[in-house]
């Protein structure tokens, strides 16, 4: 459903390199075109520069060489989810979700409908006036995703968002994220070190290797959507995981 052959890429990355101040080359010569509506996973071992790539796309850090070109970039159209929930502990779930809209100068009353719809879509409707400390890790991550989605972003960037969660919670969030992605027309870039997660979620997986961080494989995942929990035990899924594992092993060698 997401592949739109011939459509202009939303983001085109050319010969992107990042050298840190301490001289470490985090990324070298990365070329990547992100198609609108796609669910792209960036899979790689720790330290391969996949998080750096995500931060570069978000504009949180400037590139050393190369360029990141946007097709029709609107303002405030990026949603970012960090590895930790990164919530404001002094604010309720509602106020945390309100943050991007508040910063855009939208009044509470005008934002209320969007906030409540977003909270409901993530199963947080009953928790609107709760503080983050009262929530479990999985629920905090849901709030973090709600905050990223409330602006209806063109591009949703997720940096290993479920890495710290237990497996059952992670599976649930994977499925819910997929459902939301299918309902809306976002483009998602999802950074992970989990083969199973990337195979379950994405329509395309880019595998990275380290020292220096670079792309070593780029493969389409031909599993039909909608993907349900039952897919996790299907032979076709196992085959995809095996292929990705092989790429990852080569990348880590």
């Amino acid at each position: 459903m997401s592949e739109k052959p011939g459509a202009m890429p939303l983001v085109t990355i050319r010969q992107l390199s990042k050298v840190f101040r301490n001289g470490v080359t985090a990324l070298q010569g990365v070329d990547l075109a992100i198609a609108p509506g796609s669910f792209l996973s960036i899979l790689g071992p720790s330290g391969c520069g996949k998080s750096t790539l995500l931060r570069l796309i978000a504009g949180l850090t400037p590139p050393s060489f190369g360029e990141i070109a946007w097709h029709n970039k609107g303002t405030g159209r990026i949603g970012f989810v960090f590895q930790e929930p990164t919530l404001m502990p002094w604010a309720t779930v509602w106020d945390n979700t309100y943050l991007p809209l508040r910063l855009a100068g939208i009044a509470k009353n005008d934002a209320a409908a969007r906030i409540e719809a977003t909270l409901a879509s993530l199963g947080l409707a009953d928790f609107a006036h709760v503080y983050p400390r009262e929530l479990s890790g999985g629920m905090k991550m849901r709030v973090s995703i709600a905050r990223a989605l409330v602006t209806a972003p063109q591009l949703l960037l997720l940096d290993e968002p479920f890495a710290a969660l237990d497996e059952i919670t992670r599976f649930r969030l994977n499925e819910d994220l997929l459902k939301l992605w299918q309902q809306h027309n976002w483009t998602v870039v999802f950074v992970t070190h989990s083969v199973f997660e990337s195979a379950f979620l994405s329509d395309r997986v880019v595998v990275m290797a380290k020292r220096p961080g670079r792309i070593v494989a780029d493969t389409a995942i031909d599993l039909p959507y909608p993907r349900e929990a039952s897919l996790r035990t299907a032979p076709s899924y196992a085959a995809v995981c095996a292929e990705l594992s092989r790429f990852l092993a080569e990348a880590s060698a």
Partner: protein, 261 residues
């Protein structure tokens, strides 16, 4: 016995034991009251001289409260300025430290000479003692907002004012309140020390003058009564500020959460 009861009973028991021992030592050795009065005599003196001592206490309290208020307002403002510019912080912070480490007794005479108004000169002395913990703590708090949240604010194009208002100030609140708690006690100490240096005299006098005066006249029970009043005041200030801190942070900060077991 529950944790709560132990917290209350154990220090009380120690206090009562101490007072009994004190009274016993005074009586058994027949120590004259101008050397060491027993606690009963001190209590009696406090009861008798209470009204006149309270007037002095009020004077000291006014200086303390004004100094604390000035420390909160100016200390907070200085910290916010420091947080706006690393240059400003690096340029001025050492001077705040110098002001803090210079013993107040050594500069109080100068301030008393330079400033004609007694109340104002005492206020300045107390402020110098009290403002540093607020500046240091609040500066630390403003600079310790979550790095990723700062990145997020940048991603959404937040103005410096928005970042201050919605991120740095709330993140600094626990640090600021910890500073205020320390400063409350220091403001009282500053007010007393400055008055010690200023000496007696003038229409209005604080508790420090009463302590000095009682000392000169060998009215040691009254000296003890004034001292008692002073430490009670310090404890009350600390308790009130702790309560305020808990009330403001109760819904989110770890320091104010009830224990889970």
């Amino acid at each position: 016995m529950s944790e709560r009861a132990i917290k209350l009973v154990a220090p009380l028991a120690v206090g009562v034991l101490f007072l009994v021992a004190w009274e016993a030592v005074v009586r058994i050795n027949a120590i004259p009251p101008y050397i060491l009065p027993g606690p009963l005599l001190v209590a009696e003196t406090l009861w008798r001289d209470g009204p006149s001592l309270l007037g002095s206490l009020l004077f000291t309290l006014r200086i303390t409260a004004a100094a604390l208020l000035a420390a909160v307002v100016l200390g907070g403002a200085i910290a916010i300025l420091f947080a706006q510019s690393r240059w400003l912080e690096l340029s001025f912070f050492p001077y705040a430290v110098i002001l803090q480490v210079t013993p107040i007794v050594s500069i109080a005479p100068l301030i008393i000479i330079w400033v004609n108004d007694t109340f104002l000169s005492l206020l300045i002395c107390a402020w110098i003692v009290a403002f540093f913990p607020i500046v240091a703590n609040t500066t630390l708090g403003l600079n310790s907002a979550d790095r990723n949240l700062i990145a997020l604010f940048r991603l959404y194009g937040a103005s410096p004012w928005q970042t201050l208002r919605y991120l740095r100030l709330p993140a600094a609140l626990p640090y600021f309140l910890a500073g205020v708690r320390i400063s409350g006690g220091l403001a009282l100490i500053g007010a007393v020390v400055a008055e010690f240096v200023a000496g007696t005299g003038g229409a209005e006098t604080g508790l420090a003058s009463r302590i000095l005066e009682a000392g000169y006249r060998l009215e040691i029970p009254r000296l003890f009564a004034a001292l008692l009043l002073l430490s009670l005041t310090g404890i009350l200030i600390f308790a009130a500020l702790s309560w305020l801190s808990n009330a403001l942070l109760s819904h989110w900060h770890e320091s104010a959460l009830p224990s889970e077991d």
